[in-house]
Each structure stands twice: as structure tokens, then as C-alpha cells.
């Protein structure tokens, strides 16, 4: 069998053969394996949710959608939930997400302790609607969503915010995964480039290995000083199952899928990403390229059933 990336030498050539670079991801995977027509479904989170809703993929409940600025006042006056997340439908890299954790008199309080007046809130929505955070600066929509209550298991290793789980799939097979933990530096967001911690997850067991924060390899969470490795992700089998199911509904060849684990509702799918970042390799301390080339070498014609895929995943 063709085994690209075989060999454990930490030589320069094995380094280059193992690491997936931006250029290669774009040319060989996102441009080749992903059909352009599917991008709008992935890029707009509201559309993703609508597409996946009939397929019983658990997702956080959408409270309301805002398309026009005049709706903002209405939302401010009628929104009955005290806790929710405000998201731009077409945002990327976690930009423009705001977490509201409660009321304080006439104002709303964010997860970072800021107090938001009605004026602040409307200004914020207006920026989103006029495309400040959207891909390509196009007009955007805003939606309010159920605020996930993170599983207590993650409490020792996260600073505010909600940890999430990223699974990257190629040809319907999960090829790499990581747990992203918010830090003080990331201001409660779970994005690696904003300073969140990334920890690799072993695909078969769902157990975290060591982590990375910025460019340095770490074993303890920088704020809570708790070990990151050895956490077994709850509902791991379910998460992998949902991921493969989503891959079959939205037929992208190469994409990332984000989950959160809610203390009451279990695993919830948050969003898809057709151009998943490459930092997952650093969090796992493994290159992605050899794994993708291995999947290529299997020459899959029609996607095998879930059990066969799990078995293939195990060989990575």
C-alpha cells in the first residue's frame, strides 16, 4: 500500500511532506475538493442551520434573526432571554461575536463585564449589518442564539467563554481534531490566533494530548494553571458521528466543523468552515498533509459507512 509520510525521521523532507501549508490547502484541497456552489451554505451560518435542521443535527436554538437596523429596537424591547450570543451570520474567525450574560437595569452585560446600553447595542448591530465582520464586506445578517452552558468538565481549563471542539474531515473521514480553550488573552473567545489554547484530540479515544498557546507548547492552561492533556471529551463517539453525517449532507470534500458541549443538551454543532485553519496541526503536533494523502491513497469512490470510516480514521 502507498504510504505517504511513512517513516519517523524528523528530517527536513519528512517535515515538508507532513505539514499542510496554506498554499497547498488552497490549491489541492479547498479549491479542488470543495464545490464552489456549497460555499454560501457554509459561509452563512443561518443558512447552514436551515440546511441541517431537518437532519436532526443538534444545534443551539436561534432566538431571532435581524436583517434591518430598525429591527434592533424591537429586539432590544422584546427579547425575553437574559442570556444569549449575538453573531454575524457571515462572520469569520470569531470576529463580531458578542456574549450577553445578563441584564443590569436598562442595560445588558457582556461576558467580559462590559455594560451595553441600547445605543451601544444598536451601533454594534449596525456595524455587523453593514458588513464590518462579513467575508468580503458584504451586507450581513445578525442572529441571537442560545448561550451554551459549558460542560463542567472544561471549567478548570477555560477562562470565561465556551470551549469548542474542531473536527476536520476529508472525504467524509475525520482526519484531525482539537479542543479550543478560551484564555484571558483571547478575551473569552476560542480562536487560536486570538490567543486561545489549542489541544490535540486523539481521534479514536477522544482524549486530549498536550496543548499550544500562541507559538509555544504548553501543558497547563495559562490562566487556570490546570493540566490540558488527558481530558476525555464527553460524547466523543456522538460528535464524530454527527461530523460524518454533516459531511454527507453538505458534500464538501474538505472542511472543519465546530461543536460545543452543553451541560444540559449535550453536543451541539455550531458552524462549518470550508477553509479550516492550519493551526490544528500545531495543537496536535502532527502534520495534516500525510493524513490527507493517505485518505487520497484509499481511492474512495463512494463514501463507505460510518463504521468503515471509523476504522480508516483509526489508521491515521
Amino acid at each position: 500500500m502507498n504510504r505517504p509520510g511513512a517513516g519517523t525521521r524528523s528530517s527536513l523532507s519528512s517535515f515538508f511532506r507532513n505539514v499542510l501549508t496554506i498554499n497547498r490547502r488552497n490549491v489541492c484541497y479547498t479549491l479542488t475538493a470543495n464545490e464552489r456552489r456549497l460555499y454560501p451554505i457554509v459561509d452563512c451560518k443561518l443558512l447552514t442551520k436551515k440546511t441541517l435542521a431537518p437532519h436532526k443535527i443538534p444545534m443551539p436554538e436561534t432566538y431571532c434573526e435581524i436583517t434591518n437596523i430598525f429591527e434592533a429596537r424591537h429586539v432590544w424591547e422584546t427579547e425575553e432571554h437574559d442570556e444569549f450570543v449575538v453573531k454575524p451570520a457571515r462572520g469569520s474567525q470569531g470576529h463580531g461575536i458578542m456574549i450577553i450574560t445578563g441584564r443590569e437595569g436598562d442595560s445588558w452585560r457582556t461576558v467580559n463585564g462590559e455594560v451595553l446600553s441600547q445605543q451601544d447595542f444598536e451601533y454594534y448591530l449596525y456595524n455587523i449589518l453593514s458588513g464590518l465582520y462579513s467575508l468580503g464586506g458584504m451586507d450581513d445578517k445578525v442572529y441571537l442564539e442560545y448561550l451554551v452552558k459549558p460542560h463542567p468538565l472544561f471549567k478548570p481549563v477555560s477562562y470565561r467563554g465556551i470551549p469548542d471542539i474542531r473536527v476536520v474531515l476529508y472525504q467524509g473521514i475525520p482526519v484531525m481534531s482539537m479542543l479550543r480553550l478560551p484564555t484571558k488573552r483571547s478575551r473569552g473567545k476560542a480562536n487560536l490566533h486570538q490567543g486561545a489554547v489549542g489541544a490535540g484530540i486523539e481521534l479514536l479515544t477522544g482524549k486530549t494530548s498536550g496543548g499550544v498557546c500562541g507559538n509555544s507548547v504548553i501543558d497547563l492552561h495559562p490562566d487556570t494553571r490546570q493540566p490540558i492533556a488527558g481530558i476525555v471529551i464527553p460524547f466523543w463517539e456522538q460528535i464524530i458521528g454527527y461530523a460524518m453525517k454533516v459531511a454527507d449532507i453538505i458534500e464538501l470534500g474538505y472542511f472543519g466543523i465546530d461543536f460545543v458541549i452543553d451541560v444540559e443538551r449535550g453536543p451541539l454543532m455550531l458552524e462549518l468552515n470550508a477553509r479550516p485553519g492550519l493551526a490544528i496541526q500545531i495543537a496536535n503536533r502532527r502534520g495534516l498533509r500525510s493524513r490527507l494523502e493517505y485518505v487520497d491513497s484509499l481511492k474512495i469512490k463512494t463514501r463507505p459507512d460510518f463504521d468503515q470510516r471509523r476504522e480508516m480514521m483509526g489508521r491515521l
Binding site: 511513512a6 497547498r24 502532527r286
Partner: protein
């Protein structure tokens, strides 16, 4: 088809296409060399010349202006491959109706420091002997006899004092009782040729000084001949030009033309050419005109570098050299834009430098070419810092995005005008060039910088700003290579090679140089084999 094969076949198509484009470029360039000058034959005994006029000047911060006569096509000379390097001065040409002269002007509202203007052309002149027309009597009242437009060639001018009594005395002596046009013309020619000694001198003499000393260079001698001819009632004028020889020189040559029975016929008293022009004479202007004039600068010097043309002139219909001179620099700048974008592509895809926007660095680089590098960068960073500070203040006012952007643009414009005013009052006129930066692009940089600062922190925003500046400077240095400009202008088909290069960059899958740092940690990790036990 499997994924791997699909990538391979796409790669093969792309590389094939790129190869075809490279070959096409080479072929087109070769074709220009091989068939380029087909319509200009090297006629027997005729030479093609390449003349480079180099004008060195030094401004002292004033409004400066240079005027230089440019050659025109005539029945005995043809001009090819004209091109001007204007050193960022404003260049235009004007045709003078009364003389048929073509004048080039280089202007600058503010000229500081040394500049070099270069003006190139190729010329194929030929020798021409004029058959003398049938003779006639000299008209007794030439102003009545000749049409209005010839009157200026009959009347005295500043250095050609044809109504002076001394001139009339010599005319009477030389002419005697002859009233025959050709005879009188011949006698005047022989008088100046034989009686006035040739002496090189600095500055040309007028007619009276020539008569007084009976020695002069070509200018004085030609003026005396023209003055005598006019006094005799023959329309007469000076012709200025260059004697073409394989050398570098400053000297020009002056001869005369007389209007004999319906046509202008050349006479060179100094070198004894009667009704003929030799092949190595290049005509530049008519009338008693100075070749070059200038104002508003500390000094100016010029010279001509003349050499036989080895490559035949490119005079096909599809050569850019056929464009009018003053549009050529516009086309030159346009041709540079794809090269600038190629630099940006390379920096982003191969090196991995992040920039604010894809085309921002190219527009900044074009701006820097006008403003020059260091002052330009300082101004740019100054404007961005200023704009960003105000953008921070505006952020507190919770404004809608479009009015907010509009205010930033307005503030940038105000800042730029303010800097110009400040520069004027401080006597720092190079501040004026700040106005040449693309204002909308700078506003966009400010917006992107601010968002990046809010979202990812100040350090990240500064990093991307410096990435943008770095790529702009790289593009600036590439665009400043003079060879590149000449190459693109002579062979615009080079742009096909640029497309080919972009095609190859479009399928570049290797690691970006800066990714080495990002993924460096993975290098020290053992990578277990993939696809192990089944």
C-alpha cells in the same frame, strides 16, 4: 478520476499554458527583432542614427520650465522610436504653425535637486540636392510680390538686421547691377563663404558683429547670408540642426534656407553646400530660434549622444512607440501595474507577508515613485497614525459605518492639505507631494488597521501595517528598475509572461517562507507513519 490525478492534470494544464505563454512572449519579441524594422530599409549609403539628448538640471525649489526643439518628419528625414524619460516633470509638445517647429516642454511647479531628462529618437536622414528653379527678376517690391505668410522671412529680426545701412552697403557692392534672382543669390552665398572667416566661438554673433569682424561661426555666417538675402528681397530663414557623427557633443549647426521661385532651398555657407543638404544633417528647427531655453533652475546642461542605430527602428503599427509622445509615459505607468501586482503575489504566496488588501501595496508604490521613498513613507505613516487616532475617537461616538468612513476620508484630505500649507510656510516644498498619495486607499488602510487593532490587538495591526509597507517598498524598488520600463514599453508582450508567472504562482503549493516559523515546532516532533496496521 481520483483526487490526486485531478490535481495533476490541472497542474499539467496550467504549466502547459504557462509554457505556451512564455514561448509566445519569446516568439513575439523575436519577431519584433527579426521583422521589426522591415519598412525602414538601410538604403545604400544611408545611415540610421540614434540620438539621445540628455538634459541635466538642478532645481532650486522654484517653478521650472525647459523648452527644447524636437525634430519633425520632413521630405528628407524620418523620425522613429521617439521616447522621453521625463524624470517626473510634466511633459507636453506643441506644434508652432508659423515655423512648423515642434517644441517639447518640461514643467514642474516645484523643482528641487538634480533631475535628468532624456529624450531619445532614431532618424534616417538622406542627402538631397535641390534642382534650381528657373530664374526670374528680383521683385522690385517684395512685400507686395510675396504672400502674407512669407513676410516674416523678409523683415529684419533681432539678430538679423537686414535693414541696417551696413548690410545695404554690402548688398549694393555684391549685387552690382544684377537683378537676376539666382545670380544675386549665388553672389551673396559666395561673398559670405569667401569673405567671412570661420572661427568657433562661444555664443553666436548677430549680423552686424559678423560684418564688423568678418569672422564668425556657423550662426553668424548664416545670419549674414539671411540678412543679405532679405535685404535683396529674397525670403530667407535660418535652419538649426545637428551634424550627425558617432560622438557625444553639445554643438549644433545652423544654415539657411532661401525661398527661390516657389520653394525653400537650403544653403550652408560654412560647409559650402549650395542648394543641397548632405545625409548627415539633422534638421531640428527653423527661424532664428534657440535650441533650448529654460527658467527657474540653478543650472542646466545638455549634450547629445549620437551613434549609428544597430537595431532597425520599431515602426510597426503595433509598436507603442507610434503613440504620441505625451501619452507614452501614461502607457509606461500602466504597464508597470501588472509587474507591481506580480511582486505582491510573490510576497504573499511565496514569502507569506500579510498586507491590508491585495492591490494597496501597488498603489502605494506608484505613489512613492512620485514622492520618493523616505519622505513618502514618513508621510504615509503620519497620515495613517493621524487617521487612526481620529478613527478611535469616532468609534466612541457610535456612528454608522458609511458616515464614519466619510469623516475619515475628509480628515485625511484636511490633513494632507494642512501638510501642504505647513510645508509651504516652512519652505519645505517637498511636503506638497503628499497630495499624490491615493486618498481612498489610505483611508481603507486606516479602517483595516483600526479593525485589526480592535480585534487582534495593536501588535497584530502594526505587524500587518509593516507587512503592507514592506511589500510596497519591494514593489517600489522593482518598479524603479529602468530596464524593466524600457523592456515593457518596447515589448509589451512581456505581459503575457507576467500572466504565465501568475499562473504558476496560482498553483504554488510549497511552504511559504514565513510558515517555516509558524510550523517550525512540528519539525522537532517525530511524525508517526500514517496508514499503519490495517
Amino acid at each position: 478520476m481520483s483526487h490526486h490525478n485531478r490535481i495533476r492534470s490541472t497542474n499539467i494544464t496550467v504549466y502547459l499554458l504557462a509554457t505556451i505563454l512564455f514561448l509566445l512572449t519569446a516568439g513575439l519579441i523575436f519577431a519584433r527583432f527579426y521583422w521589426g524594422g522591415n519598412t525602414v530599409q538601410m538604403e545604400d549609403g544611408l545611415k540610421l542614427w540614434r540620438v539621445t539628448t540628455v538634459i541635466d538640471l538642478k532645481g532650486n525649489g522654484d517653478r521650472a520650465r525647459v523648452r527644447f526643439t524636437l525634430p519633425s518628419n520632413t521630405n528628407r528625414q524620418k523620425i522613429y522610436n521617439e521616447i522621453a524619460h521625463n524624470s517626473d516633470m510634466v511633459f507636453y509638445t506643441r506644434d508652432r504653425e508659423s515655423t512648423g517647429n515642434r517644441i517639447g516642454f518640461w514643467n514642474s511647479e516645484f523643482l528641487e535637486g538634480p533631475r535628468t531628462i532624456k529624450y531619445f529618437f532614431s532618424v534616417q536622414p538622406k542627402a538631397l540636392k535641390y534642382p534650381l528653379p528657373p530664374t526670374m527678376r528680383l521683385p522690385s517690391n517684395p512685400l507686395n510680390y510675396y504672400p502674407e505668410e512669407l513676410h516674416k522671412w523678409l523683415k529684419p529680426s533681432r539678430k538679423i538686421q537686414s535693414n541696417n545701412s551696413e548690410v545695404r552697403r554690402i548688398l549694393a557692392k555684391v549685387r552690382g547691377f544684377n537683378r537676376d534672382l539666382l545670380t544675386v543669390n549665388r553672389k551673396l552665398f559666395e561673398f559670405v563663404r569667401d569673405e567671412v572667416a570661420y572661427r568657433t566661438e562661444i555664443g553666436s554673433k548677430d549680423t552686424l558683429a559678423t560684418i564688423e569682424e568678418l569672422s564668425a561661426d556657423c550662426g553668424g555666417q548664416a545670419r549674414l547670408f539671411v540678412a543679405l538675402s532679405r535685404a535683396a528681397g529674397i525670403p530667407s530663414r535660418l535652419v538649426g540642426g545637428i551634424i550627425l557623427k558617432d560622438e557625444i557633443k553639445k554643438e549644433t549647426h545652423v544654415w539657411a534656407e532661401n525661398y527661390l521661385n516657389g520653394q525653400w532651398i537650403p544653403f550652408d555657407v560654412v560647409n559650402g553646400y549650395y542648394a543641397e543638404v548632405p545625409a548627415h544633417y539633422l534638421e531640428l528647427y527653423r527661424a532664428d530660434y534657440s535650441l533650448i531655453a529654460y527658467s527657474g533652475m540653478e543650472r542646466l546642461s545638455w549634450f547629445f549622444a549620437i551613434r549609428p542605430e544597430r537595431i532597425p527602428p520599431i515602426d510597426q503599427a503595433w509598436s507603442l512607440y507610434v503613440l504620441p509622445l505625451h501619452f507614452q509615459s501614461l502607457v509606461q505607468t500602466m504597464l508597470l501595474i501588472p509587474i507591481g501586482i506580480l511582486v505582491v503575489s510573490f510576497m504573499r504566496i511565496v514569502i507569506g507577508v500579510k498586507t491590508f488588501g491585495t492591490f494597496t501595496p501597488v498603489l502605494i508604490a506608484l505613489g512613492l515613485r512620485q514622492v520618493t521613498l523616505w519622505p513618502g513613507l514618513l508621510m504615509l505613516l503620519g497620515i495613517v497614525l493621524f487617521g487612526w487616532l481620529f478613527r478611535c475617537v469616532l468609534d466612541r461616538l457610535k456612528m454608522l459605518i458609511i458616515p464614519r468612513l466619510s469623516i475619515v476620508i475628509t480628515l485625511v484630505i484636511m490633513f494632507i492639505i494642512g501638510m501642504m500649507m505647513l510645508g509651504f510656510h516652512l519652505g519645505q516644498l517637498n511636503f506638497m507631494y503628499v497630495s499624490l498619495f491615493p486618498i481612498i486607499i489610505i483611508t481603507w488602510i486606516i479602517e483595516r488597521f483600526s479593525i485589526s487593532q480592535i480585534e487582534d490587538g495593536f501588535f497584530s495591526a502594526v505587524k500587518d501595517l509593516f507587512g503592507t509597507v514592506f511589500v510596497s517598498v519591494a514593489a517600489y524598488y522593482v518598479l524603479e528598475i529602468p530596464f524593466l520600463r524600457s523592456l515593457l514599453f518596447s515589448f509589451p508582450e512581456t505581459l503575457l509572461a507576467v500572466i504565465a508567472a501568475q499562473l504558476i504562482l496560482g498553483r504554488y503549493t510549497w511552504m511559504r517562507v514565513l510558515e517555516l516559523f509558524r510550523f517550525g515546532a512540528l519539525y522537532f516532533r517525530d511524525q508517526p507513519p500514517v496508514g499503519g496496521e490495517a
